[in-house]
Symmetry: C2
Subunit: 340 residues, 2 copies
Amino acid sequence: MKKTSLNDIAQQLGVSKTLVSFVLNGKGKEFRISDDICKKVIDLAKELNYQPNRIAQGLRTGKTNTIGLIIADIANQFFGKLGREIEQEAARHGYRVIFCSSDENPEKSKQQIAMLQQSQVDGFIISPPMNSEEQIRSLSKSNIPYVLIDRYFPEIESNYIVIDNFDAAYRATSHLLKLGRKRIANLTVNLDLVIMKERTEGYKQALRDAGVEIDENLVKVLPFTHDNKDIDRTIKDLVGKRNNKKADAILFSTSKLGIMGIECISALGLKIPEDLAIVSFDDPDAYRICVSPVTVINQPLKEIGKMAVQVLLNKIKHPIAKNQTITLKTDFIIRKSCGS
Amino acid sequence: MKKTSLNDIAQQLGVSKTLVSFVLNGKGKEFRISDDICKKVIDLAKELNYQPNRIAQGLRTGKTNTIGLIIADIANQFFGKLGREIEQEAARHGYRVIFCSSDENPEKSKQQIAMLQQSQVDGFIISPPMNSEEQIRSLSKSNIPYVLIDRYFPEIESNYIVIDNFDAAYRATSHLLKLGRKRIANLTVNLDLVIMKERTEGYKQALRDAGVEIDENLVKVLPFTHDNKDIDRTIKDLVGKRNNKKADAILFSTSKLGIMGIECISALGLKIPEDLAIVSFDDPDAYRICVSPVTVINQPLKEIGKMAVQVLLNKIKHPIAKNQTITLKTDFIIRKSCGS
DNA sequence: AAAAATGACTAAACCGATTTAGCTAAAATA
DNA sequence: TATTTTAGCTAAATCGGTTTAGTCATTTTT
């Protein structure tokens, strides 16, 4: 049973497919098609369960109503939630989204961009891995609408939606300081991204402003392919028995780090918050039910997703629109992991 | 700067686009195009950075190399991980995937199926919500390749990949019994799906086989739009102070329930596993770092995703292929939530 | 020497929509 | 009455590929 096409309807009614197209696109009035014929077309379309072929449409119009989304990993709850918001907002505007996980691998994201371009997506929403500046720049050059999320490249003029990472880390660190913690560590990831630097900068500035000396030994940069062993070693290093300058708190720059970190901390038999206070970026489910529910910096994912889609669609509609750079504030959610 | 098309290449070289198409599809030899011309075409294509328009290709060939994926919610880690595997396996075969979250809403999934059909996806991978039999059956009727995952409808002849839910629940319950628990509750969800019934059946059979009387008061079916309050009430009901027939263990049928349940249990000041032993389906991050790491029934997500794609692609290639129904075994991962 | 095969290529149809330009008859205006 | 408008419609081009059915020399076979 072949699908019904415009032509099928046209032939069965003995009219041109032009007419059918007009009618089904609601342009009957505009093109002065008689009410009588309009009705017939609409009725037959319904009867034959006509579904427009969006591919054909796309070829002709150059618009596919499809967005390409490139994130690090959809299985990571941060991106899962973000993806969900994007999908939802896109759907609200009649757009579909093709999901791609880049695994922080610029080679992969390059391929994915190429693939999505071939698929004629109308635009991109990208959380760019490090070292992917070239690809992003080439998107700009090709005049393809895109929006960066979560990360951005200061040297590239583009749309982006990010959070105020400096401020978030600053507040989190200040919170720890206020509670009397002095030896606050920062566990971060060796993704060479501005946002990660900003997080560490916010942390350092809070220490400075509180007159606490910055100890570079407390800033730990882990490979982003975090291995349990790396984290384990690092945690032991920070709070090990033989360490007479133990850390008394940790600020995790990502939830992936945090989750693995907490696993190690528990395995070491350390108590949160007694032995170690904890704050982390992002708010996965895990943080609400763990030993000591984690105080977090929660990103406004709904807002980020919504904005990303809106900015993108705006750029698609108005290609000459000025780039929008949006920085959102975070929520600080206090739970039990820092004591009180 | 317009994109390069086949025609552009053809014109610049003064050959037909037929020839260019042949060459770029690696059919130069087959169609006896001279090596000389082949080389010229390939070189120019590279120079102009030719990217085939998959939309045009799709229109002509009727194949878009795109899969439509419908799951309940990509922000749910179970589906996130599953989606990830599907994306990966699809990519390995040159397929893209459009993600749709149905929120367990059959109306929504119906719309999404229609939308994806219009987009001419080559096939579907669907985790069907309850009451969506009609839509699934209509896919069958239209001869559109599809594979169900996680859930299935026994009365519909289709491809599906599921786990042995009965066996999984049976083993989990037996484990609890072996550890001396007698008042084992089952918290499940009012999704009218066979798999949920199978889970509860496995649970009941294990009790029967152990000679433990089944107490229907211990089987709690919660609305799938789980509200914290519902769960809270239910947990209190099961282990409340005034209850002289308290539950001493809970088998959670989904991780979403489990996560919320553990939150409530902790809030009530109950100790896991001392006061209450816990086993749950699925293995989100949360379960590894919570108060007492949770013993779980882990689904082989990698396998499910891989199989789903392979079965689907097979069906796409061989539309007359017989339906495949695959039931996978689960892993039982023992942690601390049941005591020892 | 005629017929068949081979080598190297092309014209044109086709997929299913959108869109531009234009046609005809009837009605309105000059 | 001649001209313009309007109403109601259609033919054909177009998007960018794929694919079928050739064409025309040249070479090989009979």
